[in-house]
């Protein structure tokens, strides 16, 4: 069964269609990627899927239930976590608190007014920090981390929401080749170990082909091809648009 399904999603800004009649289905436990040049509409599509922007037309289904028009926090609580292209963390909290606050919230204890938060969710927080490789930096203020660490921290926050589906918007954006490889390994490991479905956008091609089971290619807001990495590689239109060949 598809864990996430989008039918004919359309969104225009001032008469320009940023996303136009996009249909896609993400199967459970797969790594699915959306590629396309800058301005192809990938981030807008993510905003439509995660409820951050209302769509003009079309419907979104998550775990079989329609989530079109639902407030984003409710979609998150249903099990869809997302990261942003420009990292979104809590800059004045420590690295540890960034994860801990999310774990505490996820456990439904956010409205507890009197228990000391300091002693809560220590083990869960530490295991997530270890997974994303930030255990040593636990006491640093999150706002001063390097770009790569910020991305990892955000990934940790999203994991702390215990998602079934992970939406990652350019998770390796701004990373060196070494960092990129490490991050991709991490995403792969998470997908395998925790059986989380991953949907991500990317513009580094080698990255995409090495880990995805399905790829959708977008250009000017439209889907121009969908298929396995082999099919995409062989697609003539994709080659013209994306690789500038032919």
């Amino acid at each position: 069964m598809a864990i996430l399904e989008a039918r004919d999603l359309t969104k225009s800004f001032g008469g320009v269609a940023a996303v136009s009649q996009v249909t896609l289905a993400v199967e459970e436990n797969e790594i699915y990627s959306i590629i396309g040049p800058n301005g192809a509409g990938k981030s807008t599509l993510f905003n439509l899927l995660s409820g951050r922007l209302p769509c003009d037309q079309g419907r979104v289904f998550f775990k079989g239930a329609e989530i079109t028009g639902m407030p984003p926090e409710q979609i998150v609580r249903m099990g869809m976590g997302r990261s942003f292209q420009v990292t979104n963390i809590f800059p004045r909290l420590t690295v540890f608190e960034n994860i801990q606050s999310t774990v505490i919230f996820q456990q439904g204890k956010g409205l507890n007014l009197f228990a000391p938060a300091k002693a809560m969710a220590i083990n869960e927080t530490e295991s997530i920090l270890e997974m994303v490789g930030l255990l040593e930096k636990r006491n640093e203020a999150a706002g001063v981390l390097s770009a790569g660490d910020l991305k990892r921290l955000e990934l940790g926050i999203v994991l702390a929401t215990k998602p079934d589906l992970l939406l990652l918007d350019e998770p390796t954006c701004g990373m060196s080749p070494v960092e990129t490889a490490a991050t991709i390994d991490l995403i792969k490991r998470i997908a395998v170990e925790t059986s989380i479905t991953v949907l991500f956008t990317e513009h580094k091609m080698d990255v995409v082909f090495s880990i995805s089971s399905h790829i959708t290619v977008m250009n000017f807001g439209r889907v121009i091809a969908t298929g396995s990495p082999e099919q995409i590689r062989a697609d003539g239109q994709v080659q013209r648009v994306y690789f500038g060949e032919g």
């Binding site: 995660s50 407030p71 984003p72 926090e73 409710q74 998150v76 609580r77 976590g81 997302r82 942003f84 979104n88 963390i89 809590f90 800059p91 004045r92 909290l93 608190e97 960034n98 801990q100 606050s101 999310t102 505490i104 919230f105 996820q106 204890k109 956010g110 409205l111 507890n112 007014l113 009197f114 228990a115 000391p116 938060a117 300091k118 809560m120 926050i157 999203v158 702390a160 929401t161």
Partner: protein, 322 residues
Amino acid sequence: MSCNRTQHWSWWLVAAIILIALPFVLEKAVSQYYVYLAIKIIVWALFAMSFNLVLGYGGMMSFGHAAFYGVGAYCAALLIVKASWPMPLAFLAAPVAAALAGLVIGFFSVRIKGVFYFAVLTLSFAQLLYIIVFKWRSFTFGDDGIQGIPVPDIISTQDSYIGYYFFALAVALVCIYLLWRIGRSPFGLMLRALRDNPQRSTFIGMNVQNYRLIAFTISAFFSGVAGALFTFLETSVSPDVLFWSNSGEVILMGLLGGMDVFLGPALGAAIMVLLNSFITSYTQYWQICLGVTLILIVLVFPQGVGGLMAKFYSTWKGEKRA
């Protein structure tokens, strides 16, 4: 560890002795007026600290907190004068009324996006309350205010302020303790996360508006306690308690004392009350001195006096360890 703990307790003991001895020393060494000033500091410290839950923790720039202080003050006075409630009951009802006002004003305000609009809307609500109290003579006595509010003998300020000092101190300490608990609770952590990044908070599943509204209401409750304490200190109340300048002053106290240090706003309150009473006794240009002080603080140490002291303390501790 045990050495640390003893040290910890000795600090508390020193603080307790100072707080207990203070009014007697002030009364003997100088005059009753200084005991009155000490109570005023306690009242404003509580107000400033309850306000800090909204600004320091929640990142919401409320420019209308005089509304909750004023509702607390008026509720206590009116219940006694108009409805003949006993003082303890009126005192307990005041913060509840303030919290209700906070719930209503907050309900509309937390929906607003942007610091500026939030400030303007809360300011407007507060001024609306001010005008209502000012104009509705038959109910609130308008700008005449309410005078001669009776208080029980034990805390009467007729002959000496000492009884009331301990009453205000006890009430304020209980409230400040609760605020401290809330600040370090999961809810306090959620608030700080929300202040840092509302969008990320939404995307961990938080209903941002609800969390803001709860913080706003709690803050209004404790502001109402401060307002009621003020009413019984003065045994009178006038529409001035609702005026926007009170909302402004409580913000300045936070800035002055430092919003990131728990006791910062209380320190700011003490500095403001003392500066106010001493400078006004020398010159009528107290506002100029205040303005200059604030500009200097914002430019030179934006963390406030409390932030500065915390920094010195941690450096000193670090040196001692090394």
